[in-house]
Amino acid sequence: MASPSKEMLLDWYRQMALIREFEETCHRLYEEKRITGVYLHLYSGHEASGVGSMAALRKSDHVITAYRDHGIALILGMDPKAVMAEMMGKKTGSSGGKGGSMHLASKDHNFWGGYAIVGGHLPLAAGIALEARYRGKDDVTMTYVGDGATNNGYFHESLNMSAIWDLPVVWIIENNGYGMGTEVERASGQIELHRKAEAYGIKSFGRVDAQNALEVYAVALKAVAYAREKGPAVIEHVTYRYRGHGVSDKQYDARDDMSAELKEWVEKREPIKILRDCIKSKYGDVGDILARHEADAERIVAESVAFAEASEMPSTYEDLMRNTYVASELVYKTERSVGAGID
């Protein structure tokens, strides 16, 4: 098992710091009504899950996820300016302001998007992976799916399809303990979610502590290699959402047990701290570099906010209607008619 280089670890730190800063800024902007709307699902707490697993990919691989997609977009290298502008529904947003927080995507980064219907992106993942198989390429489609989503029919049908067609998908179940307000135990008959792979004869790579980027990476490497050569793989990432389900989630304010649980995760299993400690223990005093990454994150996010706020909103009827369909370039030969065909 290849262990990550110093350079890689530092870059992971950079990514995680950027995500955290971006997400916490989004949260603040939402409270200040500078980001509007009803949905905003933050990746704070999940950082190591995305960073560690996507480090196992190569550039031509594919990524797709649900609505909790900001972190994934940033890891893939999407411009934070375009991402922040999308939060604000601006023309300069990565989806031109049409998609918002739940619908980030970037064709250039092989990021096939965030999706808002629970489980809805799972068959899309199968289809994207099918293209690779169809053309004999060995690119992998890394697919993130929540614990709650594993109880949906989409999950079942998509995983089974990936199994019978040997599709190169790594199905990463991000088990953050809850689907909205419902604990895994109350929603799923099988609480070790990776064991659902059994129903499809899919190779499971088990359960991983996803607050530790290195552990995530180690397992992801194996799963990606497996998917590339053989077929679908399942991994369960155990993680936690620091900001609740989304901005409308008031549970952490209202319930002592939940705020205590959150506190425990933050104190004992904080992914950025775990990575920092690991880097420091391995490479001595890299405090300067880490601090620089943190400062950069602040600067980059501040710039993205400034950029987004300075950008225009789409506002015309033309803006509204654009891109419902793509213009077709078919040449229509003259039609011919040979009669109604009834006699």
């Binding site: 949905y39 049409k98 219907i117 949906n152 789409p314 015309t316």
Partner: protein
């Protein structure tokens, strides 16, 4: 009579709660209805009052929610199954249209299916394309089920009670935008206040033009009526309340007086409510038509996130007024 303004959310909550108190067979199931206290707070406090047996959180399994309600209803319970929003009921179309609506028919009356599907409907608030629908007419396409869509608190109260007590399946949609909207409910309201299935209501009288609407459309119609009144145009607002069955007689009666009509709906424009009403009207009221019947609906586009263009896509009172002016 003494009345107090009550938010539609509260009226629905009250109706549901009273029905659960009245009848032990009535129970609630759906995503986040129990511990989370309901995504739209309609079932707030229910878990504490009725317990986990009667207030059942489900997994994110719309097909199972849709179908389990059918089985439970056939077996004698009276499920009130909630789809968190109607967008997710797309996943249950088969359970709703092919099972809830047909089980009675294809077994020739052997079973009855006394269930209610509740679903928050509508858009606005930048929920984006896949979460922005008011597709009640699509569901009302199918016979075997009733479809109710209240526009204010008192109606919501009486219509939901009827839906729960009636022995047929009902899809009951609640406009998200109307949840917080206060409207008057009498203080001495009878707990058996029931609004008959398929009975529309005149929400405003007027002799110059008929505005036909339901749910949130009624709000726009009423707002438009007030704007029009400033110009001396008196609009009659017909709230159909139920998309199936349709109280067309009420519309005809109004139209005979006004001879003009604009239909207002929150839904997408094609193959929808406006088409059905206009088609009926021109067929049955041909001799009374002084002008073409107009339709006001959402623009024919998936709903965008960005606020300004989202509003641009939405119908509103101004669009209704414009449509009326075109046919005066």
């Amino acid at each position: 009579m003494a009345a107090r303004n009550v938010a539609m959310r509260e009226a629905i909550r009250r109706a549901l709660r009273e029905e659960m108190q009245r009848d032990e067979d009535v129970f609630v199931m759906g995503e986040e209805v129990a511990h989370w206290q309901g995504t739209h707070r309609v079932t707030r406090g229910f878990l504490e009052e009725f317990g986990e047996r009667r207030v059942r959180d489900t997994p994110i399994s719309e097909m199972a929610i849709g179908g389990a309600a059918v089985g439970a209803a056939m077996a004698g319970l009276r499920p009130v199954a909630e789809f968190m929003t109607i967008n997710f009921a797309f996943l249950a179309l088969d359970a709703i249209a092919n099972h809830a609506a047909k089980v009675r028919y294809f077994f020739d009356g052997m079973f009855k299916v006394p269930l209610v599907y509740r679903a928050a409907s509508g858009w606005g608030n930048q929920a984006t394309a896949s979460h922005s629908h008011a597709p009640e007419p699509i569901f009302a396409h199918f016979p075997g089920i009733y479809v109710g869509c209240p526009s204010n608190s008192l109606d919501a109260y009486g219509m939901l009670k009827t839906s729960i007590r009636d022995d047929n399946p009902v899809l009951f949609t609640e406009s998200i935008a109307l949840y917080p909207k206060p409207s008057p409910m009498p203080d001495d309201l009878d707990e058996d206040y029931l609004i008959p299935i398929g009975k529309g209501d005149i929400k405003r009288e007027g002799a110059d033009v008929t505005l036909v609407a339901y749910a949130r459309g009624v709000d726009w119609a009423l707002q438009a009526a007030r704007l029009l009144a400033r110009d001396g145009v008196e609009a009659e607002v017909v709230d159909l309340r139920w998309l199936r069955p349709l109280d067309m007689e009420l519309v005809y009666k109004s139209f005979k007086k006004t001879n003009r009509c604009v239909i207002v709906e929150e839904s997408l424009p094609m193959y929808s409510f406006g088409g059905e009403i206009a088609a009926n009207l021109q067929e049955r009221m041909f001799d009374y038509m002084d002008a073409p019947i107009k339709r006001v609906a959402a623009e024919d586009v998936p709903l965008p996130y960005s606020k300004d263009i989202e509003l641009l896509a939405l119908p509103d009172a101004r669009k209704v007024v414009e449509a009326v002016k075109e046919i005066l």
